[in-house]
């Protein structure tokens, strides 16, 4: 690949974003959609600038609650994944339960959480946690449970205890699965927080969008959407970079 090709490849995503914005702007203007239904890109940008202060404050709230829920999800997900993945019995016993739990729309938990903890940051953190720990559990458990039996024989004959096998082979082996799941989990955590904020909070981007929507200030609502998506993208990229650094051996084909 020449230098020029590389540059083009790098610019491509930005060009795509730009193209989308242009199409958005042109469509809204041509069809003369009123701003309180579908604001144009320029109106949204303007709202972003005008309300930079409140948007900043609310996004900070969303960001930290998401990260708190995510951190909790990683801790619990890792621990649970480790426990379930390290025993065939537990794997079979708990898997259907987890799948069943995951099938419940997490928004259904919000009213319960509000009853328990009141409105505010706690339900947001917990919703983010509930929604994001599942992929982590499944990935870590699968990584551990799919150990090659021959590798296990090689170590067991040496007198390796179950814990030795898990720490020396199982855990490093499941790291690529773990990091892959982090990328999914972080975006899901944003979904959880925002869902909870729209229903049960007076802070955060979700709340901001809800209240702006009720006043027909659609430009501000769209500004909120863009902020969430930008935050989620940045975090996703962060974990993608982390994944490459930590588990380069699993991505050797792309080097």
């Amino acid at each position: 690949m020449t230098k020029r090709d590389k540059l083009i490849e790098r610019l491509a995503p930005w060009v795509a974003v730009l193209a989308l914005v242009v199409i958005w702007e042109v469509t809204v203007r041509l069809l003369q959609v009123p701003e309180f239904i579908f604001p144009s890109a320029s109106a949204t940008a303007q709202a972003l600038v005008t309300f930079a202060g409140p948007i900043g404050m609310h996004s900070w709230q969303t960001l930290w609650t998401t990260m708190a829920g995510f951190a909790l999800g990683v801790a619990v997900g890792l621990a649970l994944g480790f426990i379930i993945g390290s025993s065939r019995f537990l794997y079979h016993a708990c898997y259907p339960l987890l799948v069943g739990f995951n099938a419940i729309p997490k928004v259904a938990f919000v009213p319960i959480l509000v009853v328990w903890f009141g409105i505010g940051s706690v339900p947001a953190i917990l919703t983010a946690f509930l929604i994001c720990f599942f992929p982590i559990v499944v990935n870590v458990a699968t990584g551990l449970a799919t150990l090659e039996p021959e590798m296990e024989d090689v170590l067991r004959v040496l007198g390796a205890r179950r814990m030795d096998v898990l720490l020396k082979v199982g855990l490093p082996r499941s790291l690529p699965y773990f990091f892959a799941s982090l990328k999914i989990a972080i975006t899901l955590a944003f979904v959880g927080t925002v869902v909870s904020e729209t229903v049960a909070s007076n802070q955060g981007i979700g709340y901001l969008m809800m209240s702006a929507g009720s006043q027909m200030r659609m430009a501000l609502v769209f500004a909120g959407l863009i902020v969430i998506s930008a935050m989620a993208m940045v975090m996703y990229e962060l974990f993608a970079i982390l994944e490459k650094r930590m588990t380069g051996w699993a991505h050797r084909g792309q080097r």
Binding site: V154, P172, L175
Partner: protein, 265 residues
């Protein structure tokens, strides 16, 4: 090497049977004795319980009938004096070749507790071993940077690093091309000539068995029994050229016919 087989037996099977479940015995009524330092090979049609035999021998599985003794003691659990290598090299991709070879020392007693203090010494062992199999200069490469044959060499080094008295090989060269396979026969032959550990080689390849082993056991179809014990009296050290000479070819042919009879029976 027949003299060695006559010495007191190192691995001793007395009427051993094993059934994994109710579907019948995987192997049945196996009695044999392997002398210390002997090189034995097991051949037979696929599914004849050769790998089961390995599990019994290393103590990974207990027999459901009969007794297995290694070094005069009844086998009651995994035997640390065994090293194992399989058809797939199974190296850990996040460890360098050197660290892969060192892995058993991090686990097996008494080395595991000494690993930190004696690390430099252990690294020396690993480097020596890697040099003898022709992997000098590849110590810091990752397994996925090595060819299949090189990975298998490293896998054999890993099996030997804790200086086992019994080396178990389960079709170790099965996935390699013919030239690499013959190269590795010679590597294994030289290692064995130098260190004289006991080897149990499970294989489908009759030439491999006849070239490397002192004694070849032929197993029947499931339930696996030993139907033939053949001593290979070709002089040692054997050169690869031996495999193209008449006595060798005749012997392989005979073994081939035996297996052919089993398959058609």
């Amino acid at each position: 090497m027949t003299a060695l087989a006559d010495s007191t037996s190192f691995v001793d099977f007395q009427q051993v049977s094993l059934a994994y479940d109710d579907s019948g015995n995987a192997i049945e009524d196996i009695s044999l004795s392997i002398g210390e330092g002997e090189f034995v090979a097991f051949v037979g049609p696929s599914g004849c319980g050769k790998s089961t035999f390995m599990k019994l021998c290393t103590g990974l599985h207990a027999p459901t009938g009969g007794s297995v003794k290694v070094d005069g003691v009844e086998v009651g659990g995994p035997l640390k004096i065994c090293g194992m290598a399989f058809q797939s090299a199974n190296l850990l991709p996040w460890r360098t070749t050197l660290d892969n070879v060192l892995l058993p020392l991090e686990i097996v007693k008494p080395y595991r507790s000494q690993f930190r203090q004696r690390r430099a010494e252990f690294v020396g062992w690993a480097r020596d071993l890697l040099r003898t199999v022709g992997l000098e200069g590849y110590e810091d490469q990752y397994p996925w940077q090595l060819s299949g044959g090189m990975q298998q060499r490293a896998s054999i080094c890993r099996a030997l690093i804790h200086r086992p008295r019994l080396l178990m090989l389960d079709e170790p060269f099965g996935a390699l091309d013919a030239f690499t396979r013959e190269e590795l026969w010679c590597v294994l032959r030289d290692l064995w000539e130098a260190q004289r550990f006991t080897v149990v080689l499970v294989t489908h390849d009759l030439r491999e068995a006849a070239f490397l082993a002192d004694t070849v056991y032929v197993m029947s179809r499931r339930p696996g029994r030993i139907i033939e014990r053949r001593e290979i009296d070709l002089p040692r050290p054997r050169d690869l050229a031996v495999t193209y000479e008449k006595p060798f070819i005749d012997m392989v042919q005979e073994l081939r016919n035996l297996i052919g009879d089993i398959r058609s029976a």
